[in-house]
């Protein structure tokens, strides 16, 4: 398994390099000069030239690229053009909030999604099944900003059950609504996938055999069926975790949550190249790590899978 992990990490290097290069090229060809944006609507050309030189934007493109890759190899993602903040410390600072939100959203989504999916499959075509799948379809279709606003208007501003927006210095009550908002879509996806996987597995011969052996239905469902239906579910959970960890722009915006998503969007608007590159590299790494963990979990779920 160790050599498998090592191999995966080595494969990741060209992927990250590819991402970095594509982002660098895109930033170079997109119109909009970051130095110009720093100056505001008008600026003196001489000052503009000095700011561009200060930021290294006056160098030929290939030199800018090699300088950037060199810094990256040394672990330096650069300094934000927008506010002089070190990109690494900005990411670390915002990732805490994103991680907290994503973790709880995923816990809620996984628990509700898996439970609803299993029950729907077991009670196929029942009222519960129809209701759960109706809610799941609504959950997948409902725009996040709409869900977020609705929850806020009802629970925070209507019934005053929960505080409004913000991080609340870590107070858990501020976490409830963003977690629910962010968790709705993954929960719906997980529920639908779990249901379909369970239905497929439960029509297999070995399930009939298990039942014929006289095993309790609970054991049949959870031990024989669910375990075999788990691999696609884990895959989608992995992808969703990676997506949530990369920052949920809309949820973070509505709830004024200080996460990576907002950092990335503000960087894009300001043409803050170092911060844009930093957030993209960060997202790429998150996806690679999440995929690696998902791959490794296959072996735990299904011992027939080997990492040769």
């Amino acid at each position: 398994m160790f050599s498998y992990i090592l191999r995966k990490i080595l494969y990741a290097v060209p992927v990250v390099w590819g991402v970095v290069t594509v982002v660098f090229i895109l930033m170079a060809i997109v119109p909009g000069d970051p130095a110009r944006l720093m100056m505001g609507q008008r600026g003196d050309p001489a000052t503009l030239a000095r700011i561009r030189a200060d930021l290294g934007l006056d160098l030929p493109l290939h030199q800018q690229y090699f300088r950037f890759v060199g810094d990256l190899v040394r672990g330096d993602l650069g300094t934000s053009y927008r506010n002089n903040e070190k990109v690494t410390s900005a990411l670390v600072d915002r990732f805490g909030a994103t991680l907290r939100l994503a973790f709880w959203a995923m816990v809620v989504a996984a628990v509700i999604g898996v439970a609803a999916g299993i029950l729907s499959a077991v009670r196929q075509y029942s009222l519960f099944d129809y209701s759960a799948m109706f809610i799941a379809i609504s959950g997948v279709s409902a725009p996040v900003f709409w869900v977020g606003l609705l929850l806020l208007l009802i629970f925070a501003y209507g019934f005053h059950l929960i505080p409004g927006v913000g991080y609340g210095d870590g107070d858990w009550r501020y976490l409830v609504l963003p977690v629910v908002t962010l968790g709705v879509r993954p929960a719906a996806l997980i529920a639908r996938l779990t249901r379909s996987c369970m239905l497929e597995v439960m029509s297999q011969d070995y399930i009939r055999t298990a039942r014929a052996k006289g095993l309790a239905e609970k054991v049949v469902v959870l031990k024989h069926a669910f375990k075999n239906a788990l691999i696609p579910v884990v895959t989608i959970i992995g992808t969703q975790v990676a997506e949530l960890l990369s920052g949920a722009v809309l949820t973070e915006t509505i709830f004024a949550w200080p996460g990576v998503g907002r950092l990335a969007v503000e960087a894009l608007v300001a043409r803050d190249f170092p911060m844009i590159r930093g957030t993209v590299i960060f997202m790429a790494v998150i996806f690679l790590v999440a995929n690696l963990i998902v791959d490794l979990s296959y072996g735990i779920i299904d011992p027939r899978i080997r990492y040769d």
Partner: protein, 543 residues
């Protein structure tokens, strides 16, 4: 009978006196409380030398002071850290007499500062001005007329020779030429005093450890959440009764990106001040909050520029004038902007020195517009592209104008662009028409007319229309160096008349600025310079 009447009158007078006294006592400022102010995004910069946006400025005004300030009602320049000043040598020398007993912050982010809370001296001002150049301030060039600027920028001199600390409390600027708006420029929020010890200790990171002389001290900066300020107990300013300011214990500036949520938070009482109040809730808030929603003309102009360096607008004044006549500004303002702006007649906004209330401008006249279109060589209309930066308000205005112009056969293709791309294209004159707005940096007609329409400022320097008229150029240049205020005003008015006649823009609207405050927040007064400049040192919260 007469005696009874006299007694009644006396009793009534006594009652009135008691009521007046108790009302006055009820309005007596009280110390304490935290004011929660809403902003739309995290301030990018807290170092006045490098900040250029209004959110940063809101924060900076709490912590720093300039030499002079703008009068809250736009009636000239008032003292701040300079108690008085005088100009000499035909406006080429400006001498400022500094206020004594002004101290830098003793602490910052809960730690003692390097300066230790020492008094501000003239040498600090010289250092602060020179620092602008050293840190490549985007605004240092505003005072490039101060003698020795270029040599200091080029590193030919060790100091900026045009700035002299005559003694501890006297500061002198020597200019290369008389520059009439100089005082107004110094009221801009880049020209603030910082302590050398702290600025040098932190270098570029001074942005995260800002130390000034202002009413509030930075206590915490939670990025994308809030900036937290506490009261500066050594602040130099006192109220009319000699009481120490500020009254508030602190200010918290909350970042709430979404307008709907911000408004709900305000209604819930979670925020006390909501600046730049959005259109979508304007009518509701006016009814619900009445006078608590303050609004007043802002020194800004909203316009559509024509690219006068390329066809079809190059050398076709009649076409440009026709399009000015074709737009019903009042109707668009009423229908799209909830009547919040002022229809524009020229370049200068109301309230700006030199504003000409008698300027005729372009009244909506579709018949005349149609005739002029034919005279301009477009009897069947014309198809032009309008670039607009991405913003719901700008998009709505563009669509309304598109519909009005369509009635005259003018097909306006609206292209909505990201701000960075929009600026880039305007700068390179790769547009036919473009939306732009301008809000003053300093309250002087120079900041509108010379900056936006003088031919020496083509492109990034402000003249995106690439407009040139030699006569107007001469008048604007003459006005810059004219020290007699009345003569200056006349020069600017003449220049503006020529410009309006040449129609390099569609002169659309003049902005307003707005601020919604809670009833318990007292003395919250919206200044003419915009919501972000609202002074908070005399604000107090009723218990």
């Amino acid at each position: 009978m007469r005696k009874a009447l006299r007694v009644c009158c006396l009793l009534l007078a006594g009652l009135l006196l008691i009521l007046t006294v108790s009302a006055a006592m009820a309005e007596e400022p009280v110390y304490g409380g935290i004011l929660r102010w809403r902003e739309i995004n995290d301030p990018p910069k807290l170092d006045p030398a490098i900040a250029t946006d209004t959110v940063s400025s809101r924060n900076i005004y709490l912590m720093f002071d300039m030499l002079v300030d703008n009068d809250p009602d736009g009636k000239g320049i008032i003292p701040r850290l300079a108690e008085s000043w005088e100009g000499s040598d035909g406006g080429k020398v400006w001498t400022f007499h500094l206020r004594k007993g002004v101290h830098f912050h003793k602490e910052n982010l809960g730690q003692p500062t390097e300066n230790g809370g020492r008094e501000v001296k003239a040498a600090d001002w010289k250092y602060s001005m020179e620092r602008l150049v050293k840190v490549n301030s985007p605004r240092a060039y505003f005072i490039d007329m101060v003698k020795g600027y270029q040599d200091f920028v080029d590193g030919k001199t060790a100091d900026w020779v045009g700035i002299k600390a005559v003694d501890d409390y006297t500061l002198r600027f020597e200019l290369d030429y008389p520059f009439a708006p100089f005082l107004s420029v110094l009221a801009y929020n880049s020209f603030m005093v910082v302590p050398r010890e702290d600025a040098e200790k932190w270098g570029k990171d001074f942005n995260f450890h800002p130390v000034g002389t202002g009413a509030f001290i930075l206590e915490r900066w939670d990025h994308d959440q809030k900036t937290v300020y506490k009261r500066n107990p050594d602040y130099w300013k006192r109220d009319a009764q000699g009481r120490q300011l500020p009254y508030l214990d602190g200010v918290e500036i909350f970042v709430i990106p979404d307008n709907t949520i911000a408004y709900e938070e305000f209604k819930k009482g979670n925020i006390d001040a909501f600046p730049d109040f959005p259109d979508e809730f304007y009518l509701e808030a006016k009814v619900r909050f009445g006078d608590l929603l303050q609004e007043r003309p802002w020194l800004g102009t909203y316009y559509y520029g024509f690219n006068t360096s390329k066809p079809p607008f190059k050398d076709n004044k009649t076409l440009r004038q026709a399009m000015n006549y074709a737009v019903d500004r009042k109707r668009i303002n009423d229908l799209v902007l909830e009547g919040r702006y002022y229809p524009g007649r020229g370049v200068l906004p109301p309230g700006m020195p030199g504003y000409n209330p008698d300027l005729k401008g372009y009244e909506y006249n579709p018949e005349l517009a149609k005739k002029m279109m034919a005279d301009a060589g477009y009897p069947d209309g014309i198809e032009v592209e309008l670039n607009v930066n991405n913003n719901p308000r700008h998009k709505a205005v563009a669509e309304a104008i598109q519909a009005q112009l369509a009635e005259l056969g003018i097909k306006l293709n609206v292209k909505v662009l990201d701000w960075g791309v929009h600026l880039d294209l305007c700068e390179r004159a790769e547009t036919e028409m473009f939306r732009m707005g301008w809000v003053v940096d300093y309250a002087d007609p120079d900041n509108f007319l010379y900056v936006l329409l003088h031919s020496s400022n083509f492109g990034a320097k402000g003249n995106y229309a690439y407009y040139k008229n030699e006569k107007a150029d001469e008048l604007m240049a003459a006005a810059r160096v004219e020290t007699d205020f009345d003569k200056r005003v006349e020069l600017y008015r003449e220049a503006e008349r020529i410009i309006v006649d040449d129609a390099p823009w569609i002169f659309l609207f003049h902005y307003t600025t707005s601020l919604l405050g809670q009833e318990r927040v007292k003395n919250l007064r919206l200044p003419a310079f915009g919501d972000y400049t609202t002074p908070l040192e005399a604000v107090w919260i009723a218990k």
